[in-house]
Amino acid sequence: MLRDVMNIWRKELMDTVRDRKGMTQAIVIPLVIGIFYASFTPMLMKAMTARREKPLTIPAQGIAYADARLLDTFGRYGITLEEYEGDLEAVIQDAKRESGLVFEPGFTEDVSEERPATARLLTNSTAGGIFGGGFSDTRLQLAVGAYNQMVVAERMAAREVDPAILVPVALNAEDLATPEQRGAFFASFYLSILVAVTVAQGGLFVAIDVTAGEKERGTLESLLVTPASDIAVFLGKLGAVFTISVIPLVLTLTAYWAVSNVMPPNMAGDSGLPGFMLTASLLTGMPLALVVSVAQMMISVRARTFRDAQSGATPLIFAVMIPGFVAAFSQAKALWSCLIPVYGPFAAMGRMAQAGGLQWDAMGLSAAGSLIAAAMVLPVAMKMFTRETLLYRS
């Protein structure tokens, strides 16, 4: 029987590798997603940093009324005010400019005479994309905050009052997380989603092609009249589906790991995905891929056509991806939750990310949960495959 299983496995792999459409869906797309996820955060951080450090020119009215030291403070924060003649509110509302300042007469006098001095900050949060009005607003607030601190300190010094009385409690925060923990924790968010997407999509096309596709092409009957047992045929095909599921998983996670270490997200520790998380993701993802492969086969066997199978498999994609997303967003993951089929692998990844190292108990429970689920679904799928009414209805 093993010989027949291997014969079918080899043929299905060769057939799949030659199928550009199938290979694109099974391998290239998850790979691109992995690289995208790994490079998205660093690129976002870089863009935010660049925007934060880029000179900012703000249109303003009544600059002559503003305190000179406020303008100096703006200058230290890379902000230059530019006198604007015209309807400032209109241009900001039309999103032609992101923000603007308006100083009223008497601003400097109010400051010097210790009266509340007010300037209007006009912004349009929709202007300039995600780094637009809101971002300019934040930079202006920071500069004004620094100016206020300076003025308050001067006023208290003039009154011979120690400015420290304004800070009754000083909270010195210390992040004790190791660079590995920080890198793993940050990456684990994307990892859960990545593993879920890859496993849910990876072997689906192949599962459909080797079952419903064969029925549709009219080749399945020729295969079933050979001496190979139905079980050998099923297992050979399942083996191919599982292999094709695992290949994109390995490629995608390795690509994510490599890219995240070349372009680490700009966080404390500056660490990319630690190697142990790559190992953990693969060891928990592979048993999950087996469960999903069996389920994909079960759904595809029932289908009459390729299109039928695609429709039937849609709920399965969500059944895998939703636990992945839930795990990505949830914090505490109890050890026992690693045993829950489908959710368990993601829970185990989350626990290991928090611990900053491999946890064999979590991985063991996760693998056991997946294998038990596979063992329960496999006989049902095989029974469906050997039912003549399901095989020959078309």
Binding site: R18, R217, G218, T219, T226, P227, E388
Partner: protein, 265 residues
């Protein structure tokens, strides 16, 4: 040799096959003739062990399909009624794949594959992927994968359906060649002239029952018709109005105890 005895298969209220019996000797071509929906394909599927009969037995070279389906399949080469091939595989790869299920490997498999390619005249396209093949070329691939293990018994489900004249001739030549080499050949067809030209024995199946079995000459003589087509129509009409047993007994031979043609056992 293929022996079919009292096969029964019902799908709900539909009696697809209802007590079919006949036998196909070695070195003979046996045609299974019947209108659409008569139960030909269901009968063939039960012979191959793809469908379990509700009643009856199939014995191929001494192996009973219910008891030892793998041995039966090993003794059979089956060309199914579909012209489906794997579009990304070449004919040679098809034959190697299917040959692998029959214990062939290495140089023995390569030699058998080449022999089939030569026998079917597929040299020009043996190493091209079957995507875009004509119906005739695909039919050769399907026939080749049924013959790659040199089976003693060959079953063909409408092997010439949809083929052009040249392809039909080539297929018929292959069928004759198999017979001449001592193989047992069982095939279904809609074409009466084809059955008349090729078959040593004909089993006519109507509404899931064998209406008559015999050589084309015997069937014509029995019905008093001058062609097999007329004999078939007469038998089909008879089957609608008369009991099937008027023409065939339980052994699948023509009534009256006559032997089914000179080549019959």
């Amino acid at each position: 040799m293929i022996q079919v005895r009292d096969l029964v298969k019902h799908y709900g209220e539909v009696r697809a096959v209802d007590g079919v019996s006949f036998h196909c000797p070695d070195g003979h071509i046996t045609g299974l003739l019947g209108p659409n929906g008569a139960g030909k394909t269901t009968t063939l599927r039960m012979i191959c062990g793809l469908i379990r009969p509700m009643q009856g037995t199939v014995i191929v070279d001494g192996h009973e399909v219910g008891q030892n389906p793998a041995a039966v399949r090993r003794a059979l080469g089956v060309q199914t009624d579909s012209s489906g091939t794997y579009p990304r595989l070449t004919p040679r790869e098809h034959f190697k794949y299917f040959g692998g299920f029959y214990g062939l490997s290495g140089s023995e498999l390569d030699a058998r594959v080449q022999a089939v390619i030569d026998m079917l005249g597929m040299g020009e396209f043996a190493d091209r992927r079957t995507q875009g093949f004509s119906r005739g070329q695909r039919q050769k691939v399907i026939l080749g994968r049924a013959l790659v293990h040199d089976p003693k018994n060959v079953i063909m489900d409408e092997p010439t359906s949809g083929l052009d004249v040249m392809a039909v001739r080539e297929t018929r030549d292959v069928i004759r060649m198999l017979r001449d080499r001592g193989h047992c050949v069982l095939f279904t067809t809609h074409y009466m002239d084809e059955a008349a030209r090729l078959c040593d024995r004909v089993a006519i199946i109507i509404r899931g029952r064998i209406a008559a079995v015999g050589s084309p000459a015997e069937l014509m003589e029995m019905t008093g018709c001058s062609s097999l087509e007329d004999a078939f129509v007469a038998l089909a009409g008879g089957a609608q109005g008369l009991l099937v047993s008027e023409y065939a007994n339980a052994d699948g031979n023509v009534n009256g105890g006559r032997n089914a043609g000179g080549r019959a056992r």
